[in-house]
């Protein structure tokens, strides 16, 4: 019997589990293959929802769904925490239930926030990348009548690459709608020489920033935050005072990955197309934890899961796997509270953002509602 173990029940993990359950249905029925999904909690958290929480347009409860309702019944779903990966013995140590042996392992453990890497950021900054942070920011924004709102992109790469641009454009309109915009200055900062890593997105967003009076600081890499004086200090030697700081914190991969020698910083070193780990046999990585030169986004995890499901199905059947991931990434980009644009790109193809419109905005909201169908492998 071939044992496939998936670690991580986010978008990548559940889409993969369901694709395998579908593709390998006869093999599962015969008992020739077993698919196990391990997650350190019972729920999946759909993080794109958190962007809307500070503006009162979504609740953190909407971002959460029991995994047991999302995965096919032929998948062995376990709530446990992996404490060690032994790629020589092909064995995982579990916190509650001993060990788990595998023939093929897929790591889909996501990315973690590491705001503590920047002194003062935990005390001085807000973020919208988790439930507690998004709710705290909602409360701070509700009371923010006047002053300097700074959105600082500190960690790159970070999850949902469009979100920082979306946040300031949404904040601009949200504040205008409440008659507060004239009393609030908005500044957006980015580490490199333009306002987004993807040049076409930077060229798309810059005129919107100019029209709406959103200031941009580039080559801006915060080294520390003084939460008492409310000042950001950068590696470039500049300082920026703020009244409300919303940061995209540094991200880190999985300590398990680092300890297993699978990649630096906890990101799994993989072949960009096959997604096979560079430093171990029978190991794949998908989603945010895979170190590939594209965005850390749910759509990436989704498409990667499809490619890895096909590769695993071939391997289980003794065939040579030929499916590959081509870098496909898809994002909706909000340009305010009632319009959005859409981008799609890959390793070989740059995005071509179009003018935002209300239909794409509705499309994004509809997709967020329908997302749980994606996790089930249906959409």
């Amino acid at each position: 019997m071939t044992r496939i173990v998936i670690v991580g029940g986010g978008t990548g993990g559940t889409v993969l589990a369901n694709r395998l359950a579908d593709t390998l249905a006869p093999d599962l029925k015969r008992g020739d293959v077993e698919v196990t999904l391990v997650n350190d909690g019972p729920d999946q958290v759909y993080k794109p929802t958190f962007l809307y929480v500070p503006f009162g347009e979504a609740t953190v409860e909407e971002a959460r769904h029991p995994i047991v309702d999302l995965v096919d019944r032929t998948v062995d779903f376990r709530v446990d925490r992996v404490t060690e990966i032994d790629t020589d013995e092909k064995r995982l140590s579990l916190q509650r239930d001993g060990a788990l042996e595998y023939d093929y392992l897929v790591l889909a453990t996501g990315a973690n926030l590491a705001p503590e890497e920047v002194p003062g950021l935990v005390e001085g900054g807000h973020h919208f990348y988790g439930a507690a942070g998004a709710e705290r920011l909602r409360d701070a924004l509700a009371e923010f009548e006047a002053g300097h709102l700074v959105l600082s992109v500190i960690g790159v790469p970070h999850m949902c690459p469009a979100a920082p641009v979306e946040f300031v454009l949404m904040a601009d309109q949200w504040l205008r709608e409440r008659g507060r915009r004239e009393d609030v200055e908005i500044t957006y900062t980015y580490p490199i020489q333009r306002i987004h890593g993807l040049a076409p997105v930077a060229e798309w967003a810059q005129p919107l920033f100019d029209e709406r009076g959103i200031e941009a600081e580039t080559f801006f890499n915060p080294e520390s935050v003084d939460p008492d004086e409310r000042v950001i200090e950068t590696m470039e030697g500049t300082e920026l005072a703020y009244d409300l700081l919303v940061a995209i914190p540094p991200h880190s991969g999985s300590p398990l990955v680092e300890a297993a020698g699978l990649g630096d910083g906890g990101w799994v070193a993989v072949d960009n197309r096959t997604l096979e780990a560079a430093h171990a046999d029978g190991v794949y990585a998908i989603g945010d934890v895979a170190d590939v030169p594209t965005s850390k986004a749910g759509s990436v995890a989704h498409y990667q899961a499809g490619a890895v499901a096909d590769r695993l199905a071939s391997q289980v059947r003794g065939q040579v796997p030929t499916a590959e991931y081509d870098g496909k990434t898809m994002c909706f980009v909000e340009s305010g509270t009632d319009e959005a644009a859409f981008i799609e790109f890959s390793y070989e193809r740059q995005p071509e953002p179009r003018d935002p419109n209300q239909y794409v905005h509705w499309g994004k909201l509809a997709y967020n509602e329908a997302y749980w169908l994606t996790a089930r492998g249906l959409l």
Binding site: P157, N221, N272
Partner: protein
């Protein structure tokens, strides 16, 4: 000149498109002491201009940019300053 530069840290960003190489370097420099010599290897042509621009703005020293024509990548040598 590069023949005489022996980097303390080599950052291999070949295969990563902009801003990957620059962010890779910034991430490493953040955690380094002054006086550390880095070699950033990149095959992204825009990085060969963008990285020196950031190095100047951040007050570090650009030691050399070497183009390896036969292997189609650049080595950008940087020494960190306080």
């Amino acid at each position: 000149m590069s023949e005489s530069i022996s980097p303390d840290v080599t950052v291999d960003s070949r295969g990563a498109a902009c801003p990957g190489p620059l962010m890779d370097l910034i991430g490493k420099i953040k955690k380094a002491d002054a006086g550390t010599v880095f070699e950033l290897q990149t095959n992204d042509s825009s990085s060969s201009h963008d990285v020196p621009e950031w190095v100047e703005k951040a007050g570090h020293e650009l030691l050399d940019v070497v183009e390896h024509g036969d292997e189609e990548y650049w080595s950008i040598f940087v020494e960190t300053r306080e």
